[in-house]
């Protein structure tokens, strides 16, 4: 193992937050290529049989324990309380993650419901934050946080599948229309009004 890899391993070991490449370069005074090579070396070293793994998460690099060791780790340190996210919260989070920065109003228009309480709860959980406003007096615009990236194991902002991947196919969209038409007919039959 090279000296640089050893140094970076030590840095990642003591760092409480993921360290990004510029920080590693600054501390070690090395070129990007050297740092990358060292990171590759570290990843190989922690490839299979060790308790730690090198992960790119939340815009930086971190040494973290392997997923299968979670039970034993939690015996030392209480597991971080994972409050469950409701479907509404997850959908709102998805809207923010794909459209950020985005205002409450835009989220509400897309979701078709009032999103005030959901946005507030996401803010409270530190998953989204206020970003730059379009104008100083304009409405607040929200974006996802580093904590969001970490919690969802994402390497960086925009590390999401493209939204096109989730789009409905022609037949699926057609099925929605058919279902709507059906629902209308049922509603008409029940109320007796067209």
């Amino acid at each position: 193992m090279t000296e640089l890899a050893r140094a970076i391993e030590a840095l990642l070991f003591i760092a409480p937050e993921p360290l990004d490449q510029p920080t590693l370069m600054e501390i070690t005074d090395e070129s990007p290529a050297e740092v990358n090579r060292a990171l590759d070396e570290l990843r190989e070293r922690h490839a299979e049989s060790t308790g730690l793994e090198l992960a790119e998460v939340a815009g930086g690099w971190a040494l973290r324990t392997r997923a299968d060791l979670a039970p034993i780790c939690d015996r030392l340190r209480a597991r971080p309380r994972e409050d469950r996210l409701s479907p509404a919260a997850l959908e709102t989070l998805a809207v923010v993650a794909y459209l950020e920065p985005v205002t409450r109003r835009e989220i509400g228009r897309l979701r078709g419901v009032d999103v005030d309480s959901t946005v507030t709860s996401l803010l409270d959980r530190g998953l989204i934050e206020e970003g730059d406003r379009a104008q100083p007096s304009g409405p607040a615009r929200y974006q996802t946080t580093t904590h969001f990236l970490e919690r969802f194991g994402l390497a960086r902002r925009g590390d999401l599948p493209t939204l096109e991947r989730f789009e409905l196919t022609g037949p699926e969209a057609q099925a929605i229309r058919a279902r709507l038409q059906q629902a209308e007919l049922i509603a008409e039959a029940e109320t007796g009004e067209p």
């Binding site: 060791l69 939690d74 209480a78 997850l90 969802f152």
Partner: protein, 240 residues
């Protein structure tokens, strides 16, 4: 529509392919949906009902009620037939609304799917643990080896806050006991003093307090008050 009494119109016998019997029974069956209005040959019924035997007397009331009933049935049947058509072909507004709604659902669907993806991702990302000092235990002891600084910091916390100033509030400048003493003194010297003379340079509050002091003297049996005319001067006389 005028109310129908149980007149001849309802008891009239009808004979058509679908039904033979009195008219009111046919109505009952229609209302209970046992006979479908759409299947009822209205034309036959009209013909059957209004062509009466020439021998019979023409009852104007009964006939007009019958005509009314038949007209109502024709109206109902017509509406029901039209209604069926409307269901098959909704108006342009309904189609536009449905299109708009489905467009919105189609536009929103990717985000719903993305939410599912996020949920799975969340589950998958729950395993690894990061080096992190759990919140609440991380606060370092700031002055472990410097008791003096710690005490100085503590002192600031237990120090009594300054008493807020009440200078801006209208505080009575002459408290009641002082006014009481002054009044007593004047009475002792002069036996009888005028209220007006006691409050020459006083403001309204002091005036009120002086009156209170005078009343207090009366209560204690040390003085008597006399006012000859309403709103006039008050004479305060000492009691000996």
């Amino acid at each position: 529509m005028p109310a129908l009494d149980s007149s001849a119109a309802l008891t009239q016998q009808v004979e058509i392919d679908l039904f033979q019997g009195p008219f009111d029974l046919l109505l009952t069956l229609l209302l209970r949906d046992e006979v479908d209005l759409l299947e009822l040959p209205l034309a036959d019924l009209v013909e059957e009902s209004v062509t009466t035997d020439t021998d019979e007397r023409w009852d104007l009331d009964a006939s007009s009620q019958l005509v009314l009933l038949l007209a109502a049935m024709a109206d109902l049947k017509g509406r029901r037939m039209l209604g069926e058509e409307v269901e098959d072909e909704p108006g342009p507004d309904a189609i536009a609304m449905r299109e708009a709604l489905s467009a919105r659902l189609v536009a929103y669907a990717p985000f719903q799917r993305a939410a599912h993806w996020l949920a799975e991702r969340l589950r998958a990302a729950q395993g690894p643990r990061y080096r992190r000092v759990p919140p609440g235990t991380a606060a370092p002891v700031p002055v472990r080896d410097d008791p003096a600084r710690l005490r100085a910091a503590m002192d600031k916390m237990v120090e009594a806050p300054p008493v807020p100033s009440l200078d801006h509030m209208g505080v009575a400048r002459r408290p009641l006991p002082e006014l009481l003493g002054r009044l007593r003194e004047s009475i002792a010297r002069l036996r009888e003093v005028s209220f007006e003379s006691m409050v020459v340079d006083c403001d309204r509050l002091e005036e009120a307090l002086t009156l209170l002091a005078a009343l207090e003297l009366v209560r204690r049996g040390e003085a008597e008050l006399r006012q000859d005319v309403p709103f006039g001067d008050i004479l305060i006389t000492g009691v000996r």
